[in-house]
Assembly symmetry: D2
Homo-oligomer: 357 residues x 4
């Protein structure tokens, strides 16, 4: 919209002075606040991040009374979060350690990267975590993490903190003890993991998935089953984790995907108003994001900002598996979701640069 220069006259000067005092802002003047911070696509190399994660074990010792030992993936251009809606961070829990029980309105997902022998307790349900497992600790559910094994545990935390903070709806409560009482073991999983059968007496009752723990072996099998029969031109063999009680996304604010980019596949580019944080769970390949090529290998992380063209490719001989957290549910519920395919050049962007990091 066009604007006009200020203060042509004393009359105007007084006008704007009064407007300022009365707390009204003329829309015809430049500058509705500063522009939104622009996040850039970015990639984090596991080779660089892992040492910092492991080292944090020495640095942040229990005596220092830190609730969680986390390293946030800090996208250039943002002063909080990994995107404007999602915070992704690496968490380290050493043998014998406990991350004390609490609950908060921001919802969290845990994607297990390394180690065994630890568990997360969600509302009394003890969920043992193994690599490739997805564990949900939804909004306002009590949760604590405990490592009763011999190895350091590392997982990816995904939270909707930036959105919840923006909406001024961040509530937090500490549990009186470090650990909440155990009610059962893998109850949610044993009741709901079959997905296609549900306890006959259960009805949907919460704004999040009834299933809190998705085991890697089932996820991996599902990807291979799907690969036999169908795939997406933009995401290849992509599966969305879903709530067995509704068939919808596992959370209201974030959805999680596991996708396999098969050897030799190069997907077509598209862009969406949603954004995503990816973890390379297995294999290697590259993505072209906003015209820049990002080569990735096992363990790396990368972020795709809203409305930038992106495509994925796997030139290796082995399957590549990506896990991602996406904010599609927000955009769809607000009726702000848009998706556009890249039409030119058979769907592939010209590559104008390589990400060096």
């Amino acid at each position: 919209m066009a604007t006009i220069e200020r203060f042509n006259t004393e009359d105007e000067r007084q006008y704007y002075e009064t407007a300022g005092r009365v707390q009204v802002k003329p829309g015809w003047l430049q500058g509705e606040g500063q522009p939104m911070p622009e996040m850039e696509p970015y990639l984090w190399r596991w080779a660089e991040v892992e040492p910092l994660v492991m080292k944090s074990g020495e640095l942040v010792t229990p005596d220092r009374d830190v609730e969680r030992r986390t390293l946030r993936l800090a996208t250039p251009g943002l002063d909080r979060g990994t995107t404007h809606t999602i915070t992704a961070a690496l968490q380290l829990l050493l043998p014998g350690e406990n991350a004390p029980a609490h609950r908060h309105t921001p919802t969290a997902i845990r994607w297990v990267l390394k180690g065994t022998g630890a568990y997360t307790t969600v509302e009394g349900d003890k969920c043992y975590m193994e690599p490739g497992d997805l564990v949900l600790t939804p909004s306002w559910t009590w949760h604590d993490h405990n490592n009763e094994g011999e190895e350091p545990m590392v997982w990816l935390d995904g939270l909707d903190v930036p959105l919840v903070r923006y909406l001024r709806a961040n509530f937090y409560e500490a549990y009186p003890e470090d650990q909440q009482p155990i009610v059962g073991v893998a109850e949610s999983e044993r009741k709901f993991a079959s997905g296609a059968l549900r306890p006959a007496w259960e009805e949907p009752s919460a704004p999040y998935s009834a299933l809190w723990h998705y085991k890697w072996d089932k996820t991996h099998e599902a990807l291979h089953q799907l690969a036999e029969v169908d795939a997406s031109p933009f995401d290849d063999v992509a599966m969305e984790f879903s709530d067995p009680m509704t068939g919808g996304p596992v959370l209201r604010t974030m959805t999680c995907w596991a996708q396999m980019i098969r050897p030799g596949i190069a997907t077509r580019a598209h862009r969406q108003t949603s954004c995503a944080v990816y973890q390379v769970y297995k294999g290697e390949g590259h993505s072209v994001i906003d015209g820049k090529r990002f080569d990735w290998t096992e363990g790396d992380f990368f972020v795709v900002p809203p409305w930038v063209w992106h495509e994925h490719a796997n030139n290796s001989g082995d399957e590549a598996i990506l896990f991602s957290i996406q904010d599609i549910p927000i955009m769809k519920q607000m009726a702000l979701y848009r998706e556009e395919p890249y039409e030119a050049n058979a769907g592939h962007q010209p590559v104008t640069g390589h990400f060096k990091g």
Copy 2:
């Protein structure tokens, strides 16, 4: 409602005569049509039914041009269907035989009892049938059955024919050939069977389950998983087959259950406005229905009419597994579903007789 005797006067005689001519019926006179036929609880012994099923293979030979070789479970008191909403029948398909392709508005489920090597094609998707598998051929989907194996195949057909006929909505169409073209093999199963993950690009699009084939091994495992953590006082370890895209029942008019009555369990009685047809897939035990005891063993079938008290027991040392077709979805959608627990005597009915058959 109270009524009055007819024809006190000539005046009245004329009144009723006129009413008859004008096609209006006084509500204060007895008899709004004849009463609804009353169905009785009933049990069919596999030992008696199976010979008739097998024999039908000799009796109904291909040259006789019969579309389907079925024996309907005919509940005493009804002149059609097995209940007023469900028709259950045994179907036999011999090696080399084909049950020609057609579609109809009544929806059907197939619960496989005997044999391997046959398949049902649903909308081009080839589904190989094995004992314990549930296969859906929903309303207006093309389907045909083919036995390319060495053994006779026997399965239970469940259809909503009585309801659809009552609603005058029975449409039928024959396919020009005996077999529809095969588009793929187990595509629905490979896309949707995982249940807790769904192809990221799929949206619910039909008034029935996106998953058409539920394999026995997954069903059996789900029952055992659930048994570890929870059960219903009325149905013990009961699981409802569900649509992975919605979490709801697989069909609008019928739902299917697999339930395990564990050794030593005797459930509490309740009654529902819905009705059900059961098949004893495994094991032995008994049910008390409307005060009468029905002993059942592997292969038997029994029917529970609406609003009669029923409870199940397993005194054997092994698990008993019941499959059932229920019309709960109709009742819930019409807001006519009611359920009542039997309070007296710790939830157990006095047994007033035994079913002899």
Copy 3:
């Protein structure tokens, strides 16, 4: 489906005898029960019905202890109901009379034809009835009718009794007194009649409309407003009464329509798997149903069975207004709703006869 003649051999004779004893019915034999009764389109002339209604006041006197004084529109071909899902009846309530309080699972609508000064109490809410008003007494709500005025009241009752009885879900309870206590007057109407605004604290909570009373003046105005901007080729200016809390039909089993056939309009024919009972609230015209012409005038009733072609016309100089009860919600919830336009002859059936009655 083809069938075969019985009893070619003694072997077969024995087979069918055994099948009969075991209670299984071969599907390859003729005759899955008798065919469904076929209802015919029919029309009832107010000139003939009204005298019978008024006369019933003399015939059925209070001392005769009849709960409701009703005359059912008895469609030829059916032994109950007006269609297989709907019962329509005329009810007469004389000055000073009370139709005692009760509730039942069948749901009822009341469409007021004659008189003022009477009211229906629905769950304690006193609703004064005037011609053209629609009053709902949904499933299991306490209701009683009382005439405190000077004139006989006549209204059309519409109930889903045939369906509810077919589903064996008919429950009935009498209220201990003839009248339930009055909690308020027109509360539902004053809270919900505005339709486009709702009490800010209310949430949908029942399987039926939150609005129980639709006043004629609003209905009439809505028809005229719609007539200014839009109409249906099959039903002209047709409005469906809706639940302000959901926008959906007022009941799970029936929906009600008010429609205006404008002077000079002849709609195109179509057929639906649903059925309808119509009342000519105002004006005159005719409908062609299944090729037969039904001339109607103010006060008449007619029935359109499932899946028969029907079209409406108004050759008079004044508006014609039809009220109807339709079972579309049942068919849509069961995914059995179908609709087909009549393509030939610009959408008009050849008229093969006139209804004489």
Copy 4:
């Protein structure tokens, strides 16, 4: 959460330096970005705002090529919007002027304050605006405003711009001409305003209300009808504008309320995670917000930030009517909506100060 002091050792210094280079942020250090800007409750006096609105007509002359002549209510503490989710602004359109046609993903509502003779065209539907009317121009609908009358028009614009910008989903398109073609006049209103009746052939098809124009007389009548039978302890006679096709809020991101505070009423305090912008459409009274008293009179505006106690009172002899825009739908869809009643002191906050402005 506890934190630790930085740089105890050279080792740590290097660690944080590396972390910075690698773009990961230790969670155990203070400061996840700056805190969210804190908005204060605030009130704008019509006596002060109106002159600025009218004066803007002289200041911003057509030759200056400004698309819209608006004054935003700029809440202290925020650098954009009126809350973090809602922008409220006053718009002036002089006789003969046109605000050119465009569309954008942010959704807008218009609440008319002054003047007649202007109209807003929404997707070709010409809606004449009068004081007290609510007009919706939902996300991505073409709209332009035109004043063909003799008086200046002033209305309140409410947009979800701050949220849409935060979500990086702001799309904008200008229409090739200043005015879009007129398809009809008040079509949406004539089809859908009755609320309790809907065109029989219409189905919900958009993520916003089918009704775009809510006329003041119906709103006012609805408030008086409701006042006869019910009220909220926190908001007195409060009505939510709703979508007649769904019964839900008119928009996905904002809901609009009209509420009457009756003479002598002082509501109880509560707080919600949602926020609201109010306009005093009629009468006078005061609100206590976060312990501070805000006296308001006709034409004033005030804002209630998230999670602050607020209550309303009317000590005058006449009805007071408040219009408000609230972001409840966002919070409910995200499952972040919370509400808490103020329990102490019969629900009334101690007043610790008066707003002077």
